[in-house]
Symmetry: D2
């Protein structure tokens, strides 16, 4: 039985970790960390867990946690994980960081886009970017797992085969992404009130969103060259779900068969990726509550572009689900253990 | 392994049965029946099931089903189940009927409220009303299980201990219930379009809703006398969830302790009922996707009334979840097998 | 041209006042007061007003306001209006208070339910309760107008003719009310975040909501006796709208004709009340954005009860619209001036 | 007083026409046409109009209408308007067609994208494309006004100055648009049920949506050359609103000042266009219920692209509002007569 600790268990991603780990047959939650609610019953904060996780929220004592648990999930704001880890902790436990601290290999890019000084850059080289379907082998043996961002996961998985197989021109990539509101977190902000979000659609962080360099870095590895792309996130009046609509120019000679072949090459055997095929449009409702990524695409002969679309649940494959998937890999379990959740509809 | 067949697998309740049975460790779906979509891939109708339930929808051939399966779930309009069953079928398989055909013991009440002639009244006496927490013993050995209505389940469970223990005056019961829109079914009706339901709140079926006699009959058994009550359903712009707000006059001498004691007496050991206690208000979000019933209440000294509140997921405890719970009982399994679903929030 | 000042112009009710007064042919906004946003452009806070109300938010200087305006609307938390007014101000300007400060005639009831000491009880006797359709004559000449609460307006208008004409037993009144989330205000509270409210239904303030004594007092005047009733508010995942579902025992001899006659007697000539008749269920969508109150009802012979239902837009008839309607009366204008807004659907 | 007739008054666009014309000081509705609801009271279909538009729905007798009205609005499926008009009718009345029948100048493009034979191609040359801010002069004297599509209006207005002033490369234009569900119409289709749309985000009509050639044609006129572009519509779980996020490569030398200057040149004096400036993101909530178009943009130096964003209410500026604006121009009224509606928020 894997003993898991969570720092930040009362944010939305943290709460989703609690939901998933509670149902996991080979893991148990040994530490429910929450700075804001320390001392309160967890199920008083998240009443869906009444009778299931009635333990008390604990403060963020990472040294004590390291003694007690096999893996620590940090579902916390940027900068916290980097400020907490050290050699002593890493000798005792593994870290799965849901923040951005160890996602970018170039610390200067991190510091520029996030506007903070990285507190533990010495650990960046060994950290592994935990996009399971692509980095599976490296994930097995790491101590520090950088769990990808939600927009990032959806965007990269949607475009990876096209970039890797050189079917599109990377300089023409535009990703127009739409997210449910849980992605904005549980902080009490006026802009996230029901009446402000409901019956509304808007873009935000245009040309400045922090997931941009993360997408560029990972797709750059696939392309074997540096990539600059446009990424625009939008806020949608729904709880969960990310839809990424990606556009790119097809390279000469790319036809439907080549695209289909590329997607199949990388994803056909993946449990958590469902290829819907050309002409099919993924919808967030069909993955809600699950760890699936649904992908569809359409070649447009008129404009010479492909429109590739991916859909995930931002809290599952975009956060807690992928974190558990990474845990499974890191601890030698079947990758879908505890994650065979059927999407909930309606 | 229990082999299960579903008639009406492409309605919302039927689809929820598919979701639950797919995850069930001791059952498998052997027949996906759908008159409307016969011949189509199930996962083309419900794309959440892509890769999970890709079989073809089959027509409603109950004779053939009876040969192949151990239990048939009928998630169909009123009247269909009664028109299909006969001795031959009941000898081969068990029936769990999610429609109202076998819920009311008095066939004239059924025919009056539903406006149809009952096609198989001879089976009414042996059918068992499948409110698990109350009729558990009778459920074990029945061939015909009448799965309760969604409003009914929520209303009865909320009021049962108060009526049974004679803490309230049954003649003063008023139930004001609110339901998510999945309760209206998947039929293509203008009144259920997104723009008609969204940003709206309304009552419907005032003083005429068909769940009324079902609630009255069951609470009447608890009271040991006939009960007439007011029941008003409302449509809420959300997918899932029923909230029942019930009002009644406290009988002389009823105090907080007596109420708490009554609720504990009947529900303390129930896995699927969570007593939130006096002063707590259940919310549908905390049970969404799960088989739980959350109950809270408040005594109002000023008016001498109690306000008792219950919340369920109408598609789970209000339909498919309770149906599976009944199946578990009927087949001698642990009652929560396959049903330890954690509520999904947000 | 009536010069109007608003204190609290950046709350939801205040913003609705801005919307209505901007469109009013005989009034103009001379003071946009907002403590929180003083110094900012109003249209930077409420961007729907871009190009329409681009003036700066001003601090709450009521003395200065009194010099400049003919009427001050206070759309502020309880206690503020009472703490600001004095004889000097009342000599210069009229006050329309959207808070509860002057709604209850018995100051001890106010202090008990609101938990604060009333700062200006000497003005309570002269203040007029501004439920226009009922108190029209008294409203004409008052200096202090107590604008009714949102739940209150809907509840009282729904039940008034039945109580006044003695068709129901007041001791049996139960009001189950449902409100859109704008009623919870624009404060940055976790419980009002999109993901907390969306896909959820709950009761709150059970047996303790502050609108209860206000409803009891006003219906008590109609009945000619003290009334105690049950009032339960619920939060609905929609922006606007209140639906009140009210239950009461019919007094002997009350039939459909008597009920219809009573409603017609009081409301037939009212521009803002639309009687839908027996059997019709009002819906919030049909009044959204307008100052209408839609009323329907149903007599239930089985239980001897009436179910009376009313729907309003909580920000219009339940707050800003009624405030403007009161202004129109107080300044001798046609009552529906600037208020002939057609409900917006969908 | 302009006498107006509406064919298709019970669709969402038709109902919005009724709302707007009812409030219009210089127009009156003389014919409420609805094939589906002929003989029923209009306010029984749209109960927001109770007491306001209680007249009976009439069949589509265009000959009789032409005798009685000054202008006929056709808010009907493609093909109907073209099949109805003739010289006799056009001599008696003006036509404002909200369908696509007269929007495209090349009849073969129409027939290809819409898949129907045009019944009256002889009238295409004289029909004027009614994008008011751009074609104002031509609109004044036409008999046949082709009211633009909703996506089209938003997309063209957002990009027009950039194309016209040659600041972007038209071959790189990608428009990712998001629409509220009222755009899908009031037909009873399963895919538009509340539970199917709610909590979901999807693209549809990828690379094949019929508004594409309309956008290309109009922007082509502005560019002075043929344009092919990518247009992807998405369905959003909200009632109203369109957000268009448009991407294009900046031409060499285009800087922020040039972009701002271009937008100001064409729109600074337009009542219905609100320029939010660089860095501002328009949101649909700020225009809901109004005829405004809000526009913002962002230059991205990293990628050499501009992201231009526009927001409208699809039923107002995207349909009925623009139709009334066109009527105002055609009848010599102030362009914003009856259209000074303040956006309703929240």
């Amino acid at each position: 039985m894997i003993k898991a600790g969570i720092i930040g268990a009362t944010g939305y991603a943290g709460a989703e970790l609690v939901r998933l780990l509670w149902q996991h047959p080979s893991a148990e939650i040994a530490w429910l960390g929450s700075r804001s609610y320390a001392g309160q019953k967890y199920s008083d904060v998240y009443r869906n867990m009444t009778g299931l996780a009635d333990g008390e929220c604990l403060p963020d004592n990472i040294d004590e946690m390291a003694e007690q648990v096999d893996v620590i999930f940090t579902a916390t704001p940027q900068g916290l994980c980097a400020s907490l880890i050290n050699e002593d902790i890493l000798k005792k436990t593994k870290i799965i960081d849901l923040s951005a601290d160890f996602r970018l290999k170039d610390v200067s890019v991190y510091e520029k886009w996030y506007g903070i000084t990285h507190a533990a850059p010495q650990y960046i080289p060994e950290a592994v970017y935990g996009l399971c379907e692509i980095n599976r082998e490296k994930i097995r043996n790491t101590r520090i797992l950088a769990n990808p961002g939600c927009y990032t996961t959806c965007s990269i998985l949607t475009l990876y085969p096209l970039v890797k197989e050189k079917l599109i021109d990377p300089s023409t990539i535009i990703i127009d992404a739409k997210s449910g509101t849980s992605g904005a977190g549980r902080g009490a902000k006026t802009q996230n009130l029901f009446c402000e979000v409901n019956e509304n659609m808007k873009a935000y962080g245009v040309a400045t969103h922090r997931h941009t360099p993360e997408i560029e870095e990972q797709l750059g590895y696939a392309a074997g060259e540096q990539i600059l792309l446009s990424f625009t996130p939008h806020l949608v009046p729904m709880n969960r779900g990310i839809l990424a609509t990606a556009y790119a120019k097809l390279l000469p000679g790319t036809d439907s068969a080549a695209v289909e072949k590329a997607y199949r090459k990388y994803y056909e055997k993946e449990y958590f990726i469902r290829l819907l095929g050309e002409g099919a449009c993924p919808e967030t409702r069909w993955v809600e509550g699950s760890n699936f990524t649904d992908i569809g695409w359409k070649l447009d002969q008129r404009t010479g572009r492909i429109i590739a679309m991916g859909a995930i649940d931002n809290l599952v494959k975009g956060a807690a689900g992928q974190a558990v998937q990474n845990m499974n890999i890191m601890f030698g379990l079947e990758e879908n253990t505890g994650l065979k959740l059927v999407p909930v509809f309606p």
